[in-house]
């Protein structure tokens, strides 16, 4: 039996990784395995390849690119992108839908590859010596590895991977999924920008809440050349966004995503949390507050007009809020009432509160005390969105005495013991 063909094949796999294994030595090893140990030739080839890979500290090149086992595949399978599970060796065909700046010199290219089944992040190692792929083109990628990076499946293209450009132009129309069905990885949605939040980091361009009929999700855009802010209230189709998980909650990273502004309107699920109880505590920081005037910041300033990010600010804006605990006797809910809700509940408008704060010796404390006296111990029902165990209240009703509840309870108390 002639082993030189197989030996050359193995040697070629490592040549692309910059190594030059001794062909004669490989041939000898193959011969020994097959002749002396009755190992199947394909298995012998695999075993020698992985032994060399270990020696050179390289990922094991898949057998998919070798002429002898092509098609059948020694562990690599032709798959749809959505089927790729961490740990798999795969051969896929997909379109490069996004490229981003490599975060490290050991990475040649990274981005997102998609087919009609889904999308995956990919990374091309510099050591892989792979041809540069272009955004918008289709490629057949043989013998790549799916693994996991920061909890998200990631396609690794290493020195054993072969990349072939696919010439024919295939169309790829991604379909958005409902927000409640998103899971970690890469996802697409059609959603409305419902709320803009304070950027909590200097590198953050924008963050906020996107919503569709099924729910809402937090998003973030990091500062990067060419990235633009979304317009609050607008509807977008967003494809190939990275879905991360933190503390059990999902969020969308829109850097690298394809974002198309759309016509139309979405009836966003308004947050269906509703809690009734008594206000048992009004937390410090309630009442009238000053907010940082820096565009996009809006943080609450300290008494000395100090913003945690922008330091001392003179031209602040006033706002009202109540942070407190609403207790139903079984559970206590952290509630945050926004200005409109505070105005209705306390009967003190922002203008009136500002007047009190500016003309009273106690200043802003006086507003806090008056609001506390107006709401502490009262029964109210709060409607809003529950996030991280806190209800962001956008509507609030004062509970009134209902005589039919009274009658029902009298009957229950007077009834025979159950």
């Amino acid at each position: 039996m002639d082993y030189s063909e197989a030996a050359n094949r193995i040697s070629r796999k490592f040549a692309s990784g910059g190594e030059t294994p001794d062909v004669k030595k490989i041939e000898g090893k193959l011969k020994r395995l097959v002749d002396e140990f009755n190992v199947q030739p394909s298995e012998a080839e695999r075993s020698v390849t992985s032994e060399l890979a270990k020696e050179y500290n390289l990922p094991v090149p898949g057998a998919g690119s070798s002429a002898g086992t092509a098609g059948k595949g020694g562990g690599t399978e032709e798959k749809k992108i959505a089927e790729g599970v961490p740990g798999d060796w795969v051969t896929i065909e997909g379109k490069i839908v996004a490229l981003s700046n490599p975060p490290s010199p050991s990475i040649a290219q990274n981005g997102i590859i998609a087919d009609e089944s889904g999308a995956l992040r990919f990374v091309v190692w510099a050591k892989a010596n792979a041809p540069k792929m272009a955004e918008g083109s289709w490629y057949r990628i043989e013998s790549a590895v799916v693994d996991e990076f920061k909890g998200i499946p990631n396609l690794k293209i290493h020195s054993g991977t072969t990349i072939k450009e696919i010439e024919d132009d295939r169309s790829l129309i991604p379909t958005p999924v409902p927000i409640k069905d998103l899971h970690t990885g890469i996802g697409g949605i059609r959603a409305k920008f419902v709320q803009e939040w304070d950027a909590s980091h200097e590198r953050m361009l924008q963050s906020g809440l996107l919503g569709d009929e099924t729910g809402t999700i937090k998003f973030v855009i990091w500062k990067e050349p060419g990235r633009e802010k979304l317009v609050p209230g607008a509807v977008y189709s967003i494809f190939y966004a990275q879905v991360d998980e933190f503390n059990g909650r999902l969020s969308l990273n829109l850097n690298g995503a394809t974002i198309l502004q759309e016509e139309g309107e979405i009836a966003v699920s308004g947050g269906d949390a509703s809690v009734t109880g008594a206000i048992v505590h009004i937390a410090p920081g309630s009442g009238i507050i000053k907010r940082c005037p820096v565009e996009g910041c809006n943080r609450a300033l300290s008494r000395q007009n100090y913003c945690p990010v922008h330091e001392i600010q003179q031209g602040f804006a006033y706002d009202l809020r109540i942070k407190g605990w609403l207790d139903d006797g079984e559970k206590t809910h952290n509630v945050l009432l926004q200005r409109e809700v505070v105005e209705v509940l306390t009967g003190i408008t922002l203008v009136q509160a500002q007047e009190i704060a500016e003309n009273n010796p106690l200043g802003m404390d006086e507003v806090f005390l008056r609001m506390r006296d107006a709401v502490l111990g009262r029964y109210i029902t709060c409607h809003g969105r529950e996030i991280d165990n806190r209800v962001l209240v956008n509507k609030c009703d004062v509970v009134t005495f209902n005589s039919s509840d009274h009658t029902a309870l009298l009957n229950r108390a007077g009834g025979a013991p159950s």
Binding site: P86, E148, T332, G377, F401
Partner: protein, 201 residues
């Protein structure tokens, strides 16, 4: 293969849970004789076991402040009496609760008040009867409607506890049966009815 992260239950580590404020009538709170600590930690919450079989750390009461007195010189504190349709709560605020003390100092009885506080059992000396008193965290003047709402709310929770007591015993219900062998919680059903009946239709 690896589990789908989306299918895993959300993890919430070290999240603080505030103790809920239980609703209890004065007639039931008065009967408490057993208090315990949940955990060995110095900061572990202390609970008073209600005879109807529920632990309570914090309570929420609404009633009429009928009386308040200032006591002590060096360690000044306020005592007060808050009356509900079933009896009297004994409330107090000391210098360790400066805000609550100031709130209480400001209120001139009689007034409807809402009180958030923690109940504990005191005994002057081994011979005297134990007294349940409420150390207040907050007190605020409210209107009569809030008082009426509280009576409904408290009646509902009392009936819920009495019904649960008769059904599946929880560890706290078992403990209540052991600690209060002479108290029949169906008594509190009658008390709830009496309280409700005092609200004018």
């Amino acid at each position: 293969m690896s589990a789908n992260p989306a299918s895993m239950p959300p993890r919430r580590e070290g999240q603080f849970e505030r103790e809920p404020a239980r609703r209890v009538f004065a007639a039931e709170l008065r009967e408490c004789r057993y208090q315990f600590k949940d955990g060995e930690d110095e900061k572990s919450p202390t609970f008073v076991l209600l005879p109807s079989g529920e632990r309570s750390n914090r309570i929420f009461i609404v009633g009429t402040l009928t009386e308040k007195t200032r006591q002590g010189e060096q360690n000044m504190f306020y005592r007060g009496r808050v009356v509900d349709p079933t009896g009297t709560f004994f409330i107090m605020a000391g210098s360790y609760q400066p805000e609550a003390m100031q709130q209480l100092a400001k209120i001139e009885p009689p007034q409807f008040v809402a009180v958030i506080g923690k109940a504990s059992i005191y005994q002057k000396d081994p011979a005297s009867a134990p007294l349940v008193s409420v150390r207040i965290e907050s007190i605020n003047v409210v209107d009569k409607e809030t008082r009426d709402l509280w009576v409904l709310d408290t009646a509902k929770h009392t009936l819920d506890r009495v019904d649960a007591y008769a059904k599946e015993p929880t560890p706290d219900i078992l403990k209540a049966k052991e600690q209060y062998p002479t108290i029949d919680p169906s008594l509190f059903r009658k008390i709830a009815w009496d309280a409700l009946a005092q609200i004018k239709m």
